[in-house]
Amino acid sequence: MAKRKKDEILHDYNNDGVDRRGFLKCMAWAGTGALCVMEGGILKSYSLSRLGEISAREMAGELSFVQISDSHMGFNKPANPDVAGTLKAAVQKINGLSKSPEFMLHTGDISHLSKPEEFDTVDQILKSASAKDVFFVPGEHDVLNDDGKSYLERYGKNAKGAGWYSFDKKGVHFIGLVNVMNLKAGGLGTLGHEQLEWIEDDVQHLKSSTPIVVFAHIPLWSVYPEWGWGTEDSAQALAYLKKFGSVTVLNGHIHQIMQKVEGNVTFHTAASTAFPQPQPGKADSPGPMKVPAEQLKNVLGITDVNYVQGRNALAVVDSTLA
């Protein structure tokens, strides 16, 4: 089992040539989600586990929202026998923010086995959050039995295709993508031709100064392909976003926080509200990682995003986690 390390900087383990100047990848293991604050063209992401260290000024911006991920409602194995309890703890953290976030993003694996009662439980718990609107994208665990039909009925009423959509908030364009359908043997996450065409069309009319936030379950960058932690055709999607000065990509799936800045694109993955997974390649498989009970809440998370308008280039301030 992988040992837990704090604030570890990873090497270029998959030899994809991204470990170069201007590149930042940072991993940390704690938190219950992230607060994202956009201010002056800079998106800052703070782990809610270190709320006490974030000043009210830092949390101020044109737009703030929260990302939560991988609730896996229904999971009951030793890695976390109480995933409802840890999701409630995440909601309490959100409700503890001095300024209520505009909305929440849930980047998938809402349920563990796509059961209606699992979705019901999550919906019920999230109702008590200060942010009322929740925007979802599916994880592979949410579309297990019926090619995602029941997911779409519940969460995708205004979505296209398998559940992708976009919306605008305070001048920021948000794009929710689905990369967990029609996975091919031996392959990674897939967006597919139809969705890629939709992305191209969706952003065509936007000014290049529009800040873009893309969110999807499986990382849209190559985190660790050996474990399926990447998306086959993400490069095509990102190519459509090249003209924009500020692109932020938010993902889940890997149950740990990682960040990377590559040109105009900043990539983030969020912690899970349910259970941690090992660091890439540091265990035999990416299965649930059992940590001592008293440490569990330190390795679960939510992500806060704070958006600040004003600069062309987007920077991300990574908050290391306790």
């Binding site: 890695a79 086995l113 665990h141 043997a185 031996g186 392959g187 474990w227 035999d284 299965g287 649930p288």
Partner: protein, 118 residues
């Protein structure tokens, strides 16, 4: 000395009985190519074990998920498809035709395996 001899004889008897029992499981096959009529694949640590399984025509293969995470067993050529298997759940399929059957977990497609039916 005598006790040791008895032990060795006893072990031999166990091995012979076990061999007989295994052979009895595949009626019709000759002693040299004895194949069990059933075979197991363990789904463990996000992998299928054995990754390649060779069986005789008519063998029923059973997959058992030993992981804390659900998996599926889906034939690449659509010959068979399990429902989602939670921890300790099983899926069985009887291979009635010779051939190579590649398969994967549709939730974690990096997990691949194949059954060779002879």
């Amino acid at each position: 000395m005598m006790r040791k001899g008895v032990c060795i004889l006893g072990l031999l008897a166990i091995v012979m009985v076990a061999t007989l029992l295994l052979s009895a499981g595949s009626p019709g096959s000759s002693a040299n190519t004895a194949e069990p009529a059933s075979a197991e694949v363990k789904v463990d640590n996000f992998s299928f074990g054995p990754a390649t399984l060779t069986v005789a025509v008519g063998t029923t293969v059973t997959w058992t998920n030993r992981d804390d995470i659900p998996h599926t067993v889906v034939s690449t050529d659509k010959a068979f498809k399990s429902k989602v298997l939670d921890t300790d759940e099983k899926f069985s399929f009887t291979f009635s035709k010779a051939g190579t059957y590649p398969y994967f977990c549709s939730i974690h497609p990096k997990m691949t395996g194949s059954v060779v039916v002879q």
